[in-house]
């Protein structure tokens, strides 16, 4: 098997806050093969966005990053700023959550597309213009030529996210990180954007990381899913395996919290009670123990490691993994 495109080892991110050091990402290991899709799922504040920023080397200045981010044979953490800059867009691209704020309001769409092409692909202006029009057409924007002269505020939210995707795809990256790409959009647009990302990924044989709080988003689209809780990966498995038999009580609770069509109206949603632990005050035991209905004294005393039992590629961090029979119905 070829070496993975991305391997991150022992990645931790610490942020200084007035209340103490916040360990936003806590020793995460992940890897991703070229052309594959990894879904990272977790509730707000679980560290998934910080993890994506750590991979992209776009953490806030005050944040402390440790560990290794091996991408295409190079450790991005150690890479000189200029080498890192040359690698961006060509190899490593990103789509942010909110298309209302991720495009520059005072530059035309054409400028924002063409500057990336001209910076990395050494195209002259007419060539960059032609390529920009092709890109906008590829992401499903009608009348792309007229759009070039327009500003972001003249486009709808879904349109803007398509433009952001066109920018991300412009230099044919090997890896695209989509950080909650549909959270800020209308429900009707969400599926279109996800399908667009999946289609372009297959066409370009590009690896992709989709970050989301919605297990439903990764269900049919990711090859592998990593579930994060309180800065750690608590369960990781190929997608079909994860949905067939999840081991981690948190994953189960996350899935149970998705509203289902067949549920009778006015049935209370089985929300996860309690709140995630305060990341500035780490717990001694399993960080999900206070909210977990299977927790025992052992869970409060020691932290379970991310291990696998019967299946080598199904990892989970739990002393009391859920057995098949008790499965999803929770």
């Amino acid at each position: 098997m070829t070496p993975p495109l991305l391997t991150i080892t022992d990645v931790a991110v610490e942020l200084p806050t007035p209340r103490g050091i916040l360990r936003a990402v806590d020793d995460v290991d992940l890897s991703l093969q070229a052309g594959r899709t990894l879904g990272i799922v977790g509730e707000s504040g679980c560290g998934k966005t910080m993890l994506s920023r750590a991979i992209l080397q776009l953490l806030p200045k005050k944040a402390k990053l440790s560990g290794r981010v091996m991408f295409d044979g190079q450790d991005l953490v150690q890479l000189a700023p200029e080498s890192l800059r040359r690698l961006r867009a060509r190899d490593l691209a990103v789509v942010f959550q909110d298309p209302m704020t991720s495009l520059n309001p005072v530059l035309t769409i054409g400028t924002q597309l063409m500057e990336t092409l001209q910076e990395h692909l050494e195209l002259d202006t007419p060539a960059a213009r032609k390529r920009s029009i092709e890109l906008l057409a590829a992401v499903g924007i009608p009348a792309p030529e007229q759009r070039l002269a327009q500003y972001p505020h003249q486009c709808s939210g879904g349109m803007r996210q398509r433009i952001a995707i066109a920018i991300a795809l412009s230099c044919e990256p090997k890896l695209l990180i989509a950080d909650e790409p549909t959270t800020a959009l209308d429900v009707t647009i969400q599926a279109q954007i996800l399908d667009l990302l999946a289609r372009e990924q297959r066409r370009r044989h590009m690896a992709m990381i989709i970050i989301t709080h919605d297990l439903g988003v990764v269900a049919g689209r990711a090859d592998e899913v990593a579930v994060m809780y309180a800065g750690r990966v608590v369960e990781r498995a190929p997608t079909p395996m994860l949905f067939k038999r999840m081991h981690m009580p948190y994953t189960e609770a996350l899935l149970a919290a998705i509203p289902k069509l067949e549920t009778a109206p006015h049935t209370p949603l089985p929300a996860i009670s309690g709140r995630p632990p305060d990341p500035t005050r780490p717990l001694k035991g399993c960080s999900f123990a206070p909210r977990c209905r299977y927790a025992t004294s052992r869970c409060r005393e020691a932290k379970p490691e991310l291990t696998s039992a019967e299946m080598a590629d199904h990892l989970y961090a739990c002393f009391h993994p859920i057995k098949m029979a008790e499965g999803i119905g929770a």
Partner: protein, 316 residues
């Protein structure tokens, strides 16, 4: 865009009318009768009454305002009773001095303030940023007459590089003219740059936190392009406002600097008119300066639209 310009132009008219009314009232309601001032202490009441009648001062206030406004609209702002000069002549003589001083001062102020602001914002909280923020504060608290004297001492008395005081028109001796303007412009600029720097610095710091700056970095653009293209333009709205206000203020003359450096600018014309109770000159000059201010602000509004397309399209 044309629609936007037309709307702004229309909004100016009532402002100008209010300005003219205020200027007229200031001059008319000042204590002291113009006829008495002209005729002096020895005048008989009959002479004063006769002159008042000739000048229309016995008419009601609203009638005098309307007739003055009528003349102003035809380009006749009146004539000094002392020198016989018309207001336009007097201002025409002085405005090149004030304009040149203003342009040089703003140019130097921006030349110092803008790069410093960008450098500070790029490494906000760093040693350079803290040092410059402190220096700017120290500079702001220094009065201009003190700066002027220090500059004269250093560059004119000690180093003999530049003349201390004086003026020749640009059309006669361009180089000497510029040399005369360096020190007064520098004095004003040294008071201008701290404000320019602080405003732009804080706006830049806020802009650099934006998602679109993170995306610009993720696109692998050069740091200089991120700072100058992606961050500077959306950060410069307050800077443009502050510069507009500065320009307007400097247009109205800078009495202290003009006095110290013996420059015949608008400031000294105005104060002279006040001392000699030359009310025609006073109200004419105040009106012209106020109009200048309104025009500068109109240009500032236009610049907003150039800088931010959302304003141009009426979205913000």
């Amino acid at each position: 865009m044309l629609n936007f310009v037309a709307r702004r132009l229309l909004a100016i008219l009532p402002v100008l009318l209010a300005v003219s009314l205020l200027t007229f009232l200031i001059a008319s309601l000042l204590p002291g009768d113009l006829a008495m001032v002209i005729l002096g202490d020895q005048a008989t009441p009959e002479n004063v009454a006769a002159l008042r009648h000739d000048m229309g001062l016995d008419q009601p206030l609203w009638w005098r305002y309307l007739s003055w406004l009528g003349h102003v609209l035809q380009g006749d702002l009146g004539r000094s009773f002392r020198t016989g000069q018309t207001v336009l002549q007097a201002v025409g003589e002085r405005i090149p001095v004030s304009l040149e001083l203003m342009l040089m001062a703003e140019f130097i102020g921006l030349l110092i303030g803008v790069p410093l602001a960008i450098a500070c914002a790029a490494r906000a909280g760093g040693a350079f940023d803290r040092f410059m923020t402190g220096s700017a504060f120290a500079m702001l608290s220094m009065p201009s007459f003190l700066l002027a004297i220090l500059l004269i001492y250093l560059f004119a008395v000690e180093l003999h590089w530049l003349p201390a005081t004086g003026y020749v028109p640009f059309t006669e001796e361009p180089l000497a003219n510029l040399r005369f303007f360096v020190l007064p412009a520098l004095t004003l600029a040294l008071a201008e740059w701290p404000g320019i720097m602080r405003v732009l610095r804080s706006d830049m710091i806020a802009t650099l936190q934006e998602d679109y700056i993170a995306l610009a970095k993720a696109k692998g653009l050069k740091p200089s392009r991120i700072l100058f293209v992606h961050a500077l333009k959306p950060s410069s709205l307050t800077l443009v406002t502050v510069t507009g206000i500065n320009i307007g203020r400097l247009l109205g003359g800078t009495l202290i600097v003009e006095s110290i450096f013996a420059l015949p600018g608008i400031g000294r014309l105005l104060v002279g008119a006040i001392y000699t109770r030359d009310l025609v000159i006073l109200q004419g000059v105040v009106l012209l300066v106020a109009c200048g201010f309104v025009i500068v602000n109109f240009i500032v509004d236009m610049l907003y639209a150039v800088l931010d397309p959302r304003i141009r399209h009426g979205h913000a």
